[in-house]
Symmetry: C2
Subunit: 246 residues, 2 copies
Amino acid sequence: MSNSGFQDNDAQGPLKYISKEEADALEKELIEDYRFGKQQLIEILGHSCAAAVTKVFPLQGLPKKQPTILVVCGTEQNGAIGLVCARHLRSFDYEPTIYYPKRSTDNLFKDFTTQCEKMDIPFLSYLPTEVQLINDAYNIVVDAVLGADAESQELKEPYMSILGTLKQIKIPIISIDIPSGWDVENGNPEGINPEVLVSLMAPKKCALKYSGKHHFIAGRFVPYDLQKKFELNLPKYPGTDFVLQL
Amino acid sequence: MSNSGFQDNDAQGPLKYISKEEADALEKELIEDYRFGKQQLIEILGHSCAAAVTKVFPLQGLPKKQPTILVVCGTEQNGAIGLVCARHLRSFDYEPTIYYPKRSTDNLFKDFTTQCEKMDIPFLSYLPTEVQLINDAYNIVVDAVLGADAESQELKEPYMSILGTLKQIKIPIISIDIPSGWDVENGNPEGINPEVLVSLMAPKKCALKYSGKHHFIAGRFVPYDLQKKFELNLPKYPGTDFVLQL
């Protein structure tokens, strides 16, 4: 404790890679006890993911003439975070395009979709099967397809085809929280290998098997008491950054 | 228009200072047509205000040994933005204390309050009438008391006393959107004179009478089409900053 009564927030041990069960418990407590709203959490996390993109791929250093980014969104919360990420990327002057094949019927997610549509972010009606078209059109792909809730055993269309495409593309992939097709705890040795992984709140166990270039954690907003309770040992974030590269 | 079909977002004219009516219409359209949620807007705006605080008063350059900040919150939306600002300041390692004398009964605002309480941010049960105690205890005061909706003619307690105190303190005041006690359009020549003003979305007409040191605009998230429709002519934000100093 510091002498002003505020808690010491320096990490005391190694960064923890949490299980699916711990991730669910952490989010439940954040929502039920700490009274964070889903809309608020998705906004914070999507904003953090956009910030991570700008750190690895700054606007001025992109290989293509136009700052194009393809954002592929799934139906569940991971996809909604992708929508928010796309919106912030647009306000940071990137040119995102969204592929969102199975839209959620949840009103909250519908609102995030409308926000993107009303910002004139284009939505693709299908994903080109010719991978070279994607490599040529975009600088990077944001993978917001399947999150921690996806059952990798039960992977259905259109996600099977999307994963097949993501495995073949040559441009960098940024995965949100869990590389799509990976098991939350065991990863997937035959799955995609993103160049960037943005762990939300805390890294999941599968991130121990991550061998890509850049691993970010977006968890600064998690209250200290919760960080302590779950022994997250999150590293210290610099300045006012929302994301930290390990 | 750029050749990719994305809109040109360079401002074409001088920054607009909007009327109360325009501010109401802008927020209404953002919520009803663009489907932004109140929770989401308050989160974005509170975060932006915290970012402005860190720019003018970086953690390392504060005059007092402890990075203390007093955040005074009113009952309405301005106060909720103050609560979010306090929470982010805490995660940026400042030591905020909140004075929130008349709590809202709105569940959304209650949740923002709980988030602060559960982060162990202290709440004052009264504001010291001895102004020197405030000058000594805090580096700065965030004024999130009265926003654009306050009727300055009908100022009641406890806000009359709070304004009396704010007028006397010597430490810098940062006002959110409208310096408390000012009329949205006409200002208040006898009112407080904050060192920092953070205009939300767009500056209101009263900001034309603002003569303090630092004027920020937190409006980057406002969709370009809305910026155009209301002819806001917002300046270009640098990097990934959410706030811009004029």
